[in-house]
């Protein structure tokens, strides 16, 4: 049978964000995968070079909606290290709490998406329902559900009141019970086992060779976890374990993520109960000294690396964001070879792709060299003119 190219995306129900796969298939089997990410490049890295440290953090948060705290913490952590600031422990703990709550809501979201991809919509509804509880907790602490805005260079912006701590602690037992149920479901629910087991298998050697990060790597038995390798925030003080699995397939990745939900819950509880007293920020100088730093952070999807170069001013000279999804794409192309076409959405979803991170992005007006919003009329006008262009021969 001849090879056929199936073009999936940029608009496809399995993809939550635009990406294009040119899948070369031979019958039902996948032979090769070509990838095009260029659908929403926003030029965040260029825009970050033109903003001072105060104004760049909201921009960093908006690199991605789900891991907004990851990006801003990675950036703030790097700048603080360059400025040689000592961050008060209370600020570190608050950052850790938000980070782990973010990981929980991201993993619950992933579990729902994975269930939706195999058509198991019930689990999708249930996990997203439980995710609401996590987001409500974050909203009570930071005032927002997604872009928390908790970080600033030198500490955190908002303190946790005792009432907030108690409210958050009260929510945890309920979540704990739900996570126990999911652990049970994943190991016993036949429809999930039948679709996840043995799909997208990646051995330990392959996982290392193709540079996978995060739960994808840990499912193959690679115990790289930045929180342990290079402890930042409060992770050195908190007792927790790196979750690994030996299956290496989508089932293993599910188990790792659910295990991490459990660990995150433990970390959040520990941090809330042992929140140190003290100030929540130190005053940061306006300028950072010349230097370079590779700031690594374990985002929910894997290791996030911000390479920051400063030049003595209040702006960065270069910030290079390596997102976990970009690191995992190479392994996806390998996983997919010789798999069924029907398994493509599952395998792609298993790395939890976050494309808005990967093609980093802001509305950059090339002519006015300014960022801004676009009016609805203009969008309609543009679309209309584009349609007319296409109609014209």
């Amino acid at each position: 049978m001849p090879e056929v190219v199936v073009s999936i995306g940029p608009h496809h129900p399995a993809l939550k964000e635009p990406v294009n796969f040119k899948v070369v298939v031979d019958g039902e089997k996948i032979v090769r995968l070509e990838l095009d990410l260029s659908y929403n490049h926003r030029g965040v890295e260029k825009a970050a070079e033109q903003r001072d440290f105060i104004r760049v953090l909201p921009l960093m948060e908006r690199v991605c909606g789900i891991c907004s705290h990851s990006h801003s913490t990675a950036f703030a952590k790097g700048i603080e290290e360059l400025m040689q600031l000592e961050i008060p422990p209370r600020a570190q703990y608050i950052r850790t709490i938000i980070a782990e709550l973010e990981r929980m809501h991201s993993h619950l979201l992933w579990l729902g998406v994975a269930a939706h991809v195999i058509g198991f919509n019930t689990l999708f509804m249930w996990t997203w329902r439980d995710r609401e509880a996590v987001q409500d907790t974050v909203e009570e602490m930071s005032g927002n559900r997604v872009h928390y805005g908790m970080n600033e260079v030198g500490g955190v912006r908002r303190d946790l009141t005792p009432a907030q701590v108690t409210a958050a602690l009260e929510r945890l037992p309920n979540l704990e019970e739900r996570i126990k149920k999911y652990v049970d479901m994943v190991s016993s629910e036949e429809t999930m086992l039948i679709r996840f087991r043995g799909v997208g298998k990646l051995s330990k050697e392959e996982a290392l060779k193709y540079g996978t990060v995060g739960p994808t790597a840990r499912a193959s038995g690679v115990d790289y976890d930045t929180r342990k390798d290079d402890p930042y925030l409060a992770y050195a003080d908190v007792p927790w374990n790196v979750v690994t699995d030996t299956n290496g397939d989508v089932y293993g990745r599910t188990r790792v993520r659910i295990g991490e939900l459990w660990e995150s819950l433990k970390i959040v509880r520990y941090c809330l109960e042992n929140l140190p007293e003290g100030s929540i920020r130190v005053t940061a100088p306006r300028n950072a000294p010349t230097g370079e730093i590779l700031s690594r952070y374990e985002a929910p999807r894997g290791e996030l690396a911000h390479f920051i170069r400063t030049n003595g001013t209040d702006k960065v000279e270069r910030v290079d964001i390596r997102t976990p999804t970009l690191a995992n794409w190479t392994s996806v192309a390998i996983c997919l070879v010789n798999q069924n076409l029907a398994d493509l959405p599952v395998i792609v979803a298993a790395i939890d792709p976050c494309l808005s991170c990967t093609s980093r992005i802001t509305l950059l007006d090339k002519q006015a060299k300014k960022t801004g919003v676009m009016s609805l009329d203009e969008l309609i006008w543009r679309n209309r003119s584009r349609d007319q262009e296409q109609v014209r021969p």
Binding site: T122, K181, M185, K370, V373
Partner: protein
């Protein structure tokens, strides 16, 4: 089996959805909502317009006298926020020396009209 049990438990219990316009969603105390400016407190220092990442705040002419630290200052400028450009990051609130600009604890609408302003 745990799925089956939970399914039938759910069938007999109430749905979790909040029917929004009928039921009100509780707004937490720390909520970051619509931006507001107290004109009497503002000393016109322009800090908010400098830190605003969305460049939603511009300083416009507004000559007036304000009390600050026991002194009466003669100020020429005051901030004006383009409401639908505001991303509600709260940086203006954080950097305001007098607490004149702040995010209220109420929902902010969203829209496309760039000309709607809060003063």
């Amino acid at each position: 089996m745990s799925v089956l049990r939970e399914m039938f438990e759910n069938l007999l219990s109430r749905p979790i959805t909040i029917l929004y316009p009928k039921e009100k969603v509780p707004i937490p105390g720390a909520f970051r909502g619509r931006v507001a400016i107290t004109d009497e407190k503002c000393i016109g220092c322009s800090k908010c317009s400098l830190v605003c990442p969305a460049r939603a705040i511009t300083m416009i002419d507004g000559p007036r006298e304000v009390e600050f630290n026991g002194k009466t200052l003669n100020r020429k400028k005051r901030p004006q926020v383009k409401l639908y450009k505001c991303i509600r990051c709260g940086l203006c609130e954080r950097h305001c020396p007098t607490g004149a600009i702040f995010l209220k604890n109420e929902l902010s609408s969203s829209g496309t009209d760039g000309e709607i302003v809060v003063m």
